[in-house]
Structure formats: structure tokens, C-alpha cells
């Protein structure tokens, strides 16, 4: 087991973390993603914004195959993910080990104490020993500021604390890229700040991240790049300052006005 942080970017500047090319996703007869192409570099922090229903979650969920695109090319750290055929269990496992995900609704396992939430996947998926898994879990809980909550049940924690546990749980699997789907949308603003602080810290240590968010300030400060989606397509992308101050499309301008006026 490697103890070095596999998320540090230096070794892997050559291969992009995630490559999407012409990804098309359909729910019934509704086309949710219309041939989306996007590349995330290793070590990059990308923020994705856009109006509700524009397909941000869908895009994120394609990357770890929670949704199955009907066509396109998907590569994660060089691993080609086949979309034209049923994926083998082994390939899927390989993919999901590389990709961690943090959900809007935390999705902790409520019947397990915080520590067990973090150790169980390590033991079952990475085959770590109980001791090893616990050591890693405690280290990560410290890192997200919850060293004293190891034995609490998720239901006893605030939303912000739950989300930080969820981040620790995802990190414990040593993923090479972390996906966040509106991690603070279910939280009171005050609690959201705790979570954003943890994410900021991760970004600073070079974790590769893709963050769907409505937190424009976070996007402006932390992200290397902002991607704007609308109606199943990428409207524009670029340097945060540039996108936020000088949006190229009328649709983006309208969206940004709506967000800023809130």
C-alpha cells in the first residue's frame, strides 16, 4: 500500500485526469448531454456552473459511470472506458478506484459510526487491514477537523460535519480525482463555509477536482478554470476571472446576473 499521496500531480502531468469526447446521455427520450467534450488536467481544479437542469450532475455521474452515456469516448487517467459494450466488473472496479465522489446529500451510511463509514470501503474494496484502515481514517478525520467524531453516528452530526466525513470517506480510497456535486447546496451558509474550507485545503495540496457548485466566490478563488453549462452543452469555459467578469455569451451573462443578484 502506498502511503504517499497519489493525488499529487507531479508524476502525471502528461496524461490528462479525465478526457470526455462527444459524450451523449439520454434519459428516456430526453437528451441530457449533447455530445459534450471536456478535458481535466491532472492537478487541475475545475468548477462547473450553470442553471438547474443543464446537465452538470449528469456529466459528473458519467465519469464514474453512475450514468451510462450512449456514445462518446471516456478516458480516466489513460484508462479507456468502453461505452459501446457492457463494462466488465473488473474494469468498473478499476475505474471507481480512481474516481472519488462527494454528493449533495452526503449519503453517509447512517447505521455505521463515522469511523466505520470510512474504514468499511477501505477494507472491502482496497483489502486493507482493519488497523491500516483505521489509521488512515483517523488521519483524514483530523485533516477535515473532525478528529473527535470518530465514534459518533452520522445522524448526530451537523450537515457540514457530515459532508466533511463524506469527503474523508472519499479521500480514504486514495482516488486520483475527486468529483463534487454541489457539496454545499444542502447546507446552511455557515456550515457550507466549513466544507468549502476543507475543499480549499485539498485544492491547495494539489488534489485533482471537478466541482459542480453555485458558490461563485469559491469558483473564483479556488478554481483554475470555470466551465459553464446550459441545456446539455458547454457554453463557455476559461480562466475564472475572465468568465466571471467578461462572459462571452448572453446566456452566461443572464445566468451570472441571476446568481450574483441572490
Amino acid at each position: 500500500m502506498t502511503t504517499s499521496n497519489p493525488l499529487t500531480p507531479e508524476q502525471e502531468t502528461a496524461t490528462p485526469a479525465v478526457e470526455l469526447d462527444g459524450i451523449r446521455l439520454r434519459y428516456g427520450n430526453h437528451l441530457a448531454l449533447k455530445d459534450v467534450s471536456l478535458e481535466l488536467a491532472a492537478g487541475e481544479v475545475m468548477a462547473m456552473i450553470g442553471p438547474s437542469g443543464s446537465g452538470k450532475s449528469s456529466l459528473l455521474r458519467c465519469i464514474n459511470l453512475l450514468e451510462r452515456p450512449e456514445s462518446g469516448i471516456l478516458r480516466v487517467f489513460g484508462q479507456s472506458v468502453p461505452l459501446e459494450r457492457e463494462i466488465a466488473a473488473k474494469e468498473l472496479a478499476q475505474l471507481r478506484r480512481k474516481v472519488g465522489m462527494v454528493f449533495q446529500s452526503f449519503n453517509l451510511f447512517p447505521h455505521l459510526p463515522v469511523l466505520r463509514n470510512i474504514t468499511l470501503p477501505q477494507e472491502r474494496v482496497l483489502k486493507r487491514s482493519r488497523d491500516e484502515a483505521e489509521a488512515r481514517a483517523r488521519e483524514l478525520l483530523e485533516r477535515v477537523g473532525l478528529g473527535d467524531k470518530a465514534d459518533a453516528y452520522p445522524g448526530k452530526l451537523s450537515g457540514g460535519q457530515q459532508q466533511r466525513v463524506a469527503i474523508a470517506r472519499a479521500l480514504a480510497m486514495d482516488p486520483r480525482v475527486l468529483l463534487f456535486d454541489e457539496p454545499t447546496s444542502a447546507l446552511d451558509p455557515e456550515l457550507g463555509i466549513e466544507v468549502l474550507a476543507v475543499m480549499r485545503d485539498l485544492a491547495e495540496t494539489g488534489v485533482t477536482m471537478m466541482v459542480v457548485t453555485h458558490e461563485i466566490h469559491f469558483a473564483a478563488d479556488v478554481a483554475d478554470r470555470i466551465v459553464v453549462m446550459a441545456d446539455g452543452q458547454i457554453l463557455e469555459q476559461g480562466d475564472p476571472d475572465q468568465v466571471l467578469t467578461d462572459p462571452q455569451t448572453e446566456r452566461t451573462q443572464r445566468f451570472l446576473r441571476a446568481v450574483k443578484d441572490r
Binding site: 471507481r96 454528493f103 449519503n107 451510511f109 447512517p110 470501503p121 472491502r124 474494496v125
Partner: protein, 218 residues
């Protein structure tokens, strides 16, 4: 009045023996039946359609067949196929089948109530379907099912009285044969009824308490 009490005192040892047997046959059927119900419920979640259909058909047949028919079928019918079971085994077999069918519905509802988001989280973490059943879905689903399973267990204890039709000397059987020997059916059957109540009513209180406790925890 004292004469009455004396009589009841004389009946009591046999009635209590019967009650003990009723509890035993119920207990065995519940343990085996709930295990079967869990198996059926898990099969009902299978990704293979034929497996799901099979589980549903077995469940529906088991639920649609009266427990009495099940008992008589096992005791009087099965010997024709070479399966010969004596009273206790036959009663336990029949009640196990009925329990499995009913509890599979209860447990399935429990398993299905585990939120979708947790299943997604477990997929995203790379946890296999088998592991997520074992560590996430079943522990939570079973816990949610507990109050209904307790309620069903009380019902099953009552249903065990039907085993008298296949000659199992459980509580009703004992009461009836005492009645047949002294023609005091009303008295002895009433005492038997009270003994059943002595189990079912406290068990009902307990179930409601558990239910309340659990709804507070959500």
C-alpha cells in the same frame, strides 16, 4: 369458586406444556421462516428477471394459501411423495413456509426503503453489489422491518394453534382434549384463551414500544 380454581390448577400443567410447545414451534418457524423471507426478498432484488419472477410467484402462492391448508398439505399430502414428517416437524415446516412468504414482503419493503443515494455512494466507492447488500442494505432494511416482523410474530404464535389439526399437542390441543374428557369445554378453552392473551397482549405492548422508539430515532 374454589372448586373451579382447583380444577384450573389441575389442568394447568398440561396447558403450560402445551403453551411451551406452541412457543417452540412458533420460535423455530420464525427463525427459519424469516431467514427464508430474507432470501426471497434478496432474490426479488436480483438483476435477473426470471429470478425476480420466481421469487414473486413463490411469495404470492405462499401468502395466498391459508396456513391451515399449508399444514394439512405438509402433514397429510406430502407423505404421498415419500416425505413423511411427524407432528412437530410438519407444523414447523408448514409455518416456516407461510412465514417465509409473508416476511419476504415485509423485508422487501425494508430493503427498498434504504435511500437510493446510499446505494450510489456505495457504487461510487467501488463497493461490490454483494458487499453493499451485506453491509449497507440488509442491516438497514432488517432494522426498518423489525416492528412489522414483531407484529407478524405475534400473529404466527396465534396461527400455531392450527397445528392441533395435525395432532401436535400444543396449547389448543391440550385444552380440547381436557374438554373432551370432562365436558367442561367452556372453562378449559377460556383458560387456554387467557393463556394466549397472556402472551399476545404484552407482546403487542412491546411491539408498539419498539415502534415508537424506532420512529423517534429517524
Amino acid at each position: 369458586m374454589t372448586e373451579m380454581l382447583n380444577m384450573v390448577g389441575q389442568w394447568m400443567p398440561r396447558l403450560l406444556d402445551g403453551l411451551w410447545l406452541s412457543l417452540q414451534v412458533t420460535g423455530v418457524s420464525l427463525v427459519l421462516g424469516i431467514a427464508g423471507g430474507l432470501a426471497l426478498a434478496v432474490l426479488a432484488l436480483s438483476r435477473k428477471r426470471p429470478v425476480r419472477i420466481l421469487s414473486t410467484v413463490v411469495t404470492e402462492i405462499g401468502r395466498g394459501t391459508p396456513a391451515l391448508v399449508m399444514l394439512q398439505f405438509v402433514y397429510f399430502g406430502l407423505p404421498q411423495t415419500g416425505i413423511m414428517l411427524e407432528g412437530f416437524a410438519a407444523a414447523a415446516t408448514a409455518l416456516t413456509l407461510t412465514t417465509a412468504a409473508y416476511t419476504s414482503e415485509i423485508i422487501r419493503a425494508g430493503l427498498k426503503s434504504v435511500p437510493q443515494g446510499e446505494l450510489e455512494a456505495s457504487s461510487a466507492l467501488g463497493i461490490s453489489r454483494r458487499d453493499s447488500l451485506r453491509f449497507i442494505i440488509i442491516p438497514q432494511g432488517m432494522r426498518i422491518a423489525i416492528p412489522s416482523l414483531l407484529g407478524f410474530s405475534i400473529l404466527m404464535f396465534q396461527v400455531s394453534s392450527l397445528a392441533f389439526t395435525i395432532g401436535l399437542p400444543e396449547l389448543l390441543s391440550q385444552a380440547y382434549s381436557i374438554g373432551a374428557s370432562n365436558f367442561r369445554y367452556l372453562e378449559v378453552l377460556t383458560v387456554a384463551g387467557l393463556l394466549y392473551l397472556a402472551v399476545t397482549i404484552p407482546a403487542g405492548w412491546f411491539t408498539r414500544r419498539v415502534e415508537r422508539k424506532m420512529s423517534q430515532h429517524l
